[in-house]
């Protein structure tokens, strides 16, 4: 078990001007499950590979426990990694795959067998120990990859999108299994995913990356309730938060022909740079208000889910095209009598508003 820390760590790939990971600062506590999340190409894998020692660290440093490992090769870092495509050795049996690291470490045959069997038991792999990876299903391969990591009892687990090759149902199942396994073993884990639902459900804390820059790192609750900037606000949550930008006027933000009331102190701070303000509110905090109040919208699609309903709408003065057909999403009671094409007026709970400076994109409260 160990803590992990990235200290101003950057990676600039040869022949590229922009760093793939830019001055990353992260402190991961002992036994913590930290998820790195962000859109494709934001530098999640690169960060993880820097920690693994598979990618150079150009500036800054990486510390595991109290040891600076910035220049150590992977095998000296006492880490185990689960790859996206599992990277199982095709010519070895499940047992050999899981025991390979132990064999290289010079453990006796008996000791190896004991530890592999222990891990296989936890992962329900005992019937498959003498099979080769190609004779396993995707889910079983995934578990072998996990098993290969846990038999070594390393300081840190690294996982790079380990569920992305599974079908949707198995992914949800395995997600909870991995989280439970990690709690049980108590091993510090860094987990990479592009899926914010996975991030929110699995992580003790979630670090959101964009273009190689850390946007925010906090517990799922805080990320959801107090996103630090417009990007995080739009990235976390499904359906995504509604975000509208307009001019600060007396008492609120003018968006097209509508006006959204915003508390005065937030408004003045948000409008400080150029008078424009971005306001966010989640679909479940939207209220339908009387005609003439709030934001006028046109309903494009009504989605009945049984437990609740979603209205996909666009601002009344937005052009009527597919691009804007889901600008603002509203969650309502199921079977609300609303039909596509109808005009509605939306308001939001004052307390549920997220106010950002439209120029700096930062949260102001």
């Amino acid at each position: 078990m160990a803590t992990v820390s990235f200290q101003q760590a950057s990676r600039i790939y040869p022949k590229s001007e922009r760093p793939a990971v830019d001055s990353l600062d992260l402190e991961i506590a002992d036994g913590e499950f930290l998820v790195l999340v962000g859109p494709s190409g934001c530098g999640k894998s690169t960060s993880l590979r820097m920690l693994a020692g598979l990618e150079e660290v150009d500036t800054g440093s990486i510390v595991i426990g109290d040891r600076d490992v910035t220049d150590s090769p992977p095998k000296e870092r006492d880490i185990a990694m689960v790859f996206q495509n599992y990277a199982l050795y095709p010519h070895m049996t499940v047992e050999e795959n899981m025991g390979f690291a132990l064999k290289l470490a010079g453990l006796s045959k008996d000791e190896r067998a004991t530890r592999v069997r222990e891990a296989a038991k936890i992962l329900d792999l005992e019937p498959y120990l003498s099979r080769r990876p190609k004779a396993l299903s995707g889910g079983q391969r995934q578990r072998v990859a996990m098993g290969r990591a846990i038999v070594r009892n390393p300081q840190v687990f690294l996982m790079d999108e380990p569920l992305s090759n599974l079908d949707a149902k198995l992914r949800v199942q395995t997600r909870t299994q991995i989280a439970a396994l990690q709690r049980r073993l108590g091993t510090t884990t860094v987990y990479v995913t592009h899926d914010q639902v996975e991030a929110m459900t699995m992580g003790d804390r979630v670090a959101v990356l964009k273009d190689g820059v850390l946007q925010q790192c906090d517990t799922p609750g805080v990320l959801y309730d107090r996103p630090a900037n417009v990007f995080v606000a739009g990235f976390i949550g499904s359906p995504a938060m509604n975000l509208v930008t307009g001019d600060a006027v007396d008492g609120g933000v003018q968006v097209g022909s509508g006006m959204l009331p915003v508390p005065r102190d937030h408004l003045t701070r948000a409008a400080a740079s150029n008078g424009k303000v971005t306001v966010g509110f989640r679909p479940e905090t939207v209220r339908l208000v009387g005609p003439g109040e709030g934001l006028p919208v046109r309903v494009n699609v009504v989605e009945q889910l049984g437990s609740d309903a979603f209205l996909y709408t666009s601002l009344a003065d937005a052009p009527d095209d597919v691009l804007h057909s889901a600008d603002l999403v509203v969650r309502t009671e199921p079977r609300t009598p609303v039909a596509a094409g109808q005009q509605l007026w939306l308001g939001a709970d004052r307390g549920a508003l997220h106010v950002f400076d439209a120029q700096t994109q930062q949260r102001v409260d």
């Binding site: 992977p74 495509n85 990277a87 050795y89 095709p90 390979f100 690291a101 080769r132």
Partner: protein, 327 residues
């Protein structure tokens, strides 16, 4: 595609039921045959050429090997049945040539494939000027046997050869490469190795490049040194390729001809003063074209073919057994 087949199915459902099930099936079968006919047409040229230049000579050689005949009178020999084969098995020249073929074959094939593996492994790293090295590696293969052998026989020359000069420079005895059994065979093996190492290395390199990089990263994290990675990731992944190169090299080794023919520099088929490097290929040539016993030469040719068949068969069995063990 889906839409189209859906439409067809609907149309079939909508149409009145056919009187019997057979008629609609037949056109489809015929269409398939026509399509296959094009396939046969495309592969036909190969089989025509194969029949004319491989199968016919092959059978004809078998026919000739059953006759006592000479080169000038190839169709008019007398039928002797298997006598040529009996003579061959009792001939000390045949056994000498067989032994030489095997020793030269092993001396050439084993180091050649090992070196090719090593070279391919090195070239698999992201070296500067990779393309250059790859081209250079293929150049020996593109050199004519005659030119290469003549140059090498100069290098291995007894009196002014470069290799002897160097041996003497470091205080060792000069070697009469051509005269000794071991030394001449080593020298010939060196020529063969020089010509074929790069070729095999390129085959290995191509196979290595299809090994996923993640496997090496996983091995590295598992604590495998570069050597262990080579042993536990590269070699197992290359096993089918290695088997293939062994088969190809073995066939080449059994048929070895040009290098020993030209090694002495005068193109004699005797393979040295005491036949110390006469291979089966040379023996066959000597029987047919120096001694004019073309029936006997055809017999030797068939013996070579049988040897190749046995070796390839053994290899195939080993490969099959390994594949079964893998399952």
């Amino acid at each position: 595609m889906t839409i189209a087949s859906g439409t067809v199915r609907e149309a079939a459902i909508a149409a009145p039921p056919p009187r019997s099930a057979a008629p609609p099936a037949r056109p489809r079968k015929r269409r398939q045959l026509t399509r296959n006919r094009w396939g046969y047409a495309y592969v036909a040229p190969f089989f025509l050429v194969f029949a004319a230049f491989s199968l016919y000579p092959f059978m004809y050689t078998a026919w000739v090997s059953l006759h006592e005949t000479s080169l000038s009178n190839i169709n008019g020999g007398t039928w002797v049945g298997l006598e040529n084969y009996r003579d061959l098995l009792q001939s000390e020249f045949f056994w000498n040539a067989t032994r030489n073929t095997f020793t030269i074959g092993i001396l050439a094939t084993v180091p050649q494939l090992c070196m090719a593996l090593g070279l391919a492994h090195l070239l698999n790293y992201k070296l500067r000027g990779r393309t250059f090295f790859r081209t250079v590696m293929l150049m020996p293969y593109a050199t004519s046997i005659a030119a290469a052998t003549l140059v090498f026989s100069q290098l291995f020359g007894r009196d002014y050869g470069l290799i002897n000069t160097m041996l003497e420079a470091v205080g060792l005895q000069a070697i009469d490469w051509e005269a000794g059994t071991v030394s001449s065979q080593v020298a010939i093996a060196v020529i063969v190795t020089w010509r074929w190492t790069g070729y095999n290395a390129l085959i290995y390199l191509a196979a290595m490049q299809s090994i996923p990089g993640e496997l090496y990263e996983a091995a590295e994290i598992d604590g495998a040194s570069k050597w262990k990675q080579f042993l536990h990731v590269t070699i197992p992944s290359l096993r089918p390729t290695i088997l293939f190169t062994i088969v190809v090299s073995t066939i080449g080794a059994v048929q070895l001809f040009g290098e020993p023919l030209l090694f002495a520099g005068n193109g004699t088929t005797s393979g040295g003063s005491s036949g110390q490097y006469q291979t089966l290929g040379l023996l066959m040539y000597q029987q047919g074209w120096s001694n004019f016993h073309i029936g006997q030469a055809a017999t030797t040719a068939w013996a070579m073919f049988m040897i190749i068949l046995v070796i390839v068969g053994v290899n195939a069995v080993i490969g099959r057994l390994r594949a079964r063990a893998d399952r």
